[in-house]
């Protein structure tokens, strides 16, 4: 069996039926990382000891003939914004380059409780702020499909690891598109669940009203299995919703015939690349041929989403990142003489350019005299954007859009123009602002063989429907 291109079910049943072992799967993935990751740069830290211990536990269970949990022996990668006990967690930042968390993120703990083998921590834009992974303080990630191009961001390392068969699935985080956009650029599936569906306990905070944890996977079914594993109320995160978790996997094969799909013209306007437009339109035709009904909808406030997002996200970030003070666990500049010099120089040397830019913008938007004009205004427009979706979802079951206006761009192409980089998130930030779930599923390639992603947005807590649609499309395509 080909050890590094397996689905979750194939890996698990291989271990259960003793055709392979969790240890052999882990070793095969580490060998693949050794061979491929020098060029790609998806991983920041490997935790081989922890992985092999877990693999050994799983192999003992298998040897005793015990029924294995759903992710038993499955090699996974974790974005380096999720805390892992005893394993360095940097958030892609120099300011946390030596941080070793004393506890595990709930999502990671749930993956391991379900038998997953955590191989290591994946590269990302610093504090998940970026759309190309070029803001990592350590090194950029290269797109496995074309090494001269970015993998997207900020979960670029997670997307690249899954795309290059260095992990079966990975966890990422999405604040403005950071799971779906890299999934689209790397040709994998990326799911952002509803706000509150998955606990964020142990996730290093960027913008608390927008942060989500979700899976990146090579198949929709694998994404569904991971979501089923990590979803549900966690008493350690008061924003996690106390709602039952459906069996997303069992729901996958329900027919999609009769489902109403909204198409909003605001997502097909200026700036959308022609090849992406054609690929997404043919994907919509494919869903139509499966019996879905296509309904035009209007989301009129969409052009205001990026400015709204960049005010709210940066305001929250400026507050969340105030904790990096050089006292308790973050980098401290050497040779400082006073407390105030310590704060300033540690933050100055520890944070990268984009993080400082966002702290500055957020601090400005929250400062006296500007609060009403910027932050409060953005919160009000957020209400309007959310109402757009509420109205549209009165008529349709899901909304289909491109995930990103273009396929993967070149490294360096946008890195000197922050605004151009922000516009890469134009089709993804709306779902974060409204708190609705979204999935990106591959829907073809450009002439240059670069992957294109179809985004399917759903109602609050209706991941089952978007997973079902993505699965039906994936099977038919």
């Amino acid at each position: 069996m080909d050890m590094t291109s397996l689905t979750i079910d194939a890996a698990r049943s291989g271990v259960q039926e003793r055709k392979t072992t969790a240890l052999a799967l882990a070793e095969a993935h580490y060998a693949r990382i050794q061979k491929e990751d020098g060029e790609i740069g998806a991983f920041l830290t490997l935790c081989k000891e922890r992985a092999l211990e877990q693999a050994d536990r799983i192999d003992h269970m298998a040897a005793e003939g015990k029924p294995l949990p759903p992710l038993a022996g499955v090699p996974v990668a974790i974005k380096d914004v999720m805390s892992t006990r005893g394993v360095r967690t940097t958030a892609g930042s120099k300011i946390l380059s030596h941080y070793i968390p004393p506890y595990d993120c709930t999502a990671v703990a749930r993956m391991e409780a379900a038998g997953a083998v955590v191989l290591g921590k994946t590269n990302c834009d610093e504090f998940a702020m970026g759309s190309s992974n070029e803001n990592s303080a350590f090194h950029p990630v290269h797109n496995p499909r074309d090494l001269s191009r970015v993998p997207g961001g900020s979960s670029g390392g997670s997307a690249a690891a899954v795309a290059a068969d260095m992990a079966v699935v990975a966890l990422g985080s999405d604040t403005g598109g950071s799971i779906r956009q890299p999934a689209s650029f790397c040709g994998v599936v990326g799911l952002m669940p509803t706000y509150g569906r998955v606990s964020r306990y142990g996730l290093i905070a960027f913008a608390s009203s927008l942060d989500h944890i979700g899976p990146l996977a090579r198949t929709v079914k694998d994404a569904a299995i991971v979501l089923r594993t990590i979803a549900g109320r966690d008493p350690m995160d008061s924003t996690s919703a106390d709602l039952p978790v459906p069996d997303y996997v069992a729901e996958l094969d329900k027919p999609v015939r009769g489902l109403r799909l909204g198409v909003a013209k605001e997502y097909f306007g200026e700036g959308l690349d022609d090849e992406v437009r054609h690929a997404v339109e043919s994907a919509i035709d494919k869903l139509k041929s499966l019996g879905c009904e296509v309904v035009p909808v209007s989301l009129p406030h969409t052009p205001y989403a990026i400015p709204t997002y960049y005010l709210i996200a940066t305001a929250e970030a400026s507050s969340n990142l105030a904790r990096y003070d050089g006292v308790r666990y973050s980098y401290r500049a050497p040779g400082v003489k006073s407390l105030s010099e310590m704060y300033r120089r540690s933050r100055d040397e520890g944070f990268g350019a984009e993080v400082k830019r966002r702290i500055m913008l957020g601090t400005y938007a929250l400062s006296a005299g500007y609060y009403d004009a910027y932050y409060l205004k953005a919160q009000k427009v957020r209400t309007l954007l959310t109402r757009d979706f509420e109205e549209a979802f009165g008529k349709v079951d899901a909304i289909v859009t491109p995930t990103s206006p273009t396929a993967a761009f070149k490294l360096g192409e946008k890195s000197n123009d922050p605004l151009a980089m922000y516009l890469a998130d134009i089709y993804t930030v709306t779902a974060d602002l409204a708190g609705i779930p979204g999935i990106s599923v591959p829907c073809g390639e450009t002439k240059e063989k670069l992957p294109i992603g179809l985004q399917i947005l759903g109602k609050h807590f209706d991941e089952a429907t978007i997973l079902r649609l993505a699965h039906a499309y994936e099977q038919a395509a």
Partner: protein, 112 residues
């Protein structure tokens, strides 16, 4: 130009950032370009729109209740030990850049 050099210095001070001369110049340019783009929000009349601070107040709440009571699902009994034990002193100090085994050590706070 919305943001001036003086504003950059003031905001950097609020955010506890030092910023080199070169960085300040770049920040001035970038903040102005981003704020110019953000200006389009002024096209929208939001006089009668409620601000949305978070998503959770749109789902999972008890609509019949007022204020924080609406979020009853998120509250719990106050128990002394909490949901997990506090970190041990040793573990809490482990990541500190400077500690003496009991306290975090920092440079002198009061300057005279």
């Amino acid at each position: 130009m919305k943001v001036t050099e003086k504003d950059v210095a003031y905001v950097a001070d609020l955010a506890n950032l030092e910023l080199s001369g070169e960085e300040r110049g770049g920040m001035l340019r970038d903040l102005n370009s981003i704020l110019d783009y953000i200006e389009r929000l002024e096209e929208l009349d939001t006089a009668n729109v409620e601000p949305m601070a978070q998503v959770s107040d749109r789902h999972g709440v008890d609509e019949s209740k007022q204020g924080s009571e609406r979020f009853a699902y998120a509250s719990r009994e106050d128990v002394p030990e909490g949901l997990r034990k506090s970190l041990s002193q040793e573990s809490a100090l482990e990541n500190a850049p400077d500690a003496d085994g009991t306290f975090f050590r920092v440079p002198k706070v009061i300057e005279r």
